[in-house]
Amino acid sequence: MQHHVEESAKGGHNELFWYGLFAAGGVLTAFVVPIHVLINNLAAPLGLVPVETIGYERMARLVAHPLVKVYLFALIALGLFHWAHRFRYVLIDLGVMGARELIAVLAYGSAIAGTVIGAILLLRVT
């Protein structure tokens, strides 16, 4: 019995850690993602604002700035952990009960992988 209690307490501690990342990602993405999608993925590609807005020179210059790198890293990392945590519970809501641990490992694992890839890609732009 003691074993079970300890295990669930440990799980609770981990859960709080992932929840913290989920919540931080929820806040940051709620404030900034819509405008990024609007300018970067809709207005500029459609020509509603000059397409040079997301042109090579501008983007390379922006991303080369250390502060922009830090900001984009936080956005990528926290955004991915937000996805991972919420998506895990969507699958449980939809009745995927069997592979709970595997789903958690895959979800948080993808977020960690994406974070590392994001860091590498950001550092590559100089």
Partner: protein
Amino acid sequence: MIEAPPELKLYRRPMARAWWLKNRRYTLYMLREISSVFIGVWIVLFLVQLAQLGSGREAYQGFVAGFLRSPIVIILNLAIFVFVMVHSITWNQLTGVIQVVRIGDRELPSRYVAGGAFATWLVASLVIAAVMLAA
């Protein structure tokens, strides 16, 4: 000492897969949760864009012209936009419910806290737009 049975059998009430289509509140709840998937998809698209940016001018320009400007990707991005708006609206509303702000010994009403979150969203959006659109 009482030993716990090696495997506890839990009863789970059977639940229809499509339970979230049964009423409007459940459907809105599910749309809110699904918004996270679109945030994930946007980040992946952005990572691809960053990869192209790091690969040089030609690769990047090809990505913008051939991928970002293609109609199917524009449609995908419209869907992404709708869902990230769902996320922002619902998240900022919930901030008002969850986050307790005290001034002295009084609690700030939740609508003011939510209002602050919406105001922050607006200011952050204006700053990013200014940085991206500045000549």
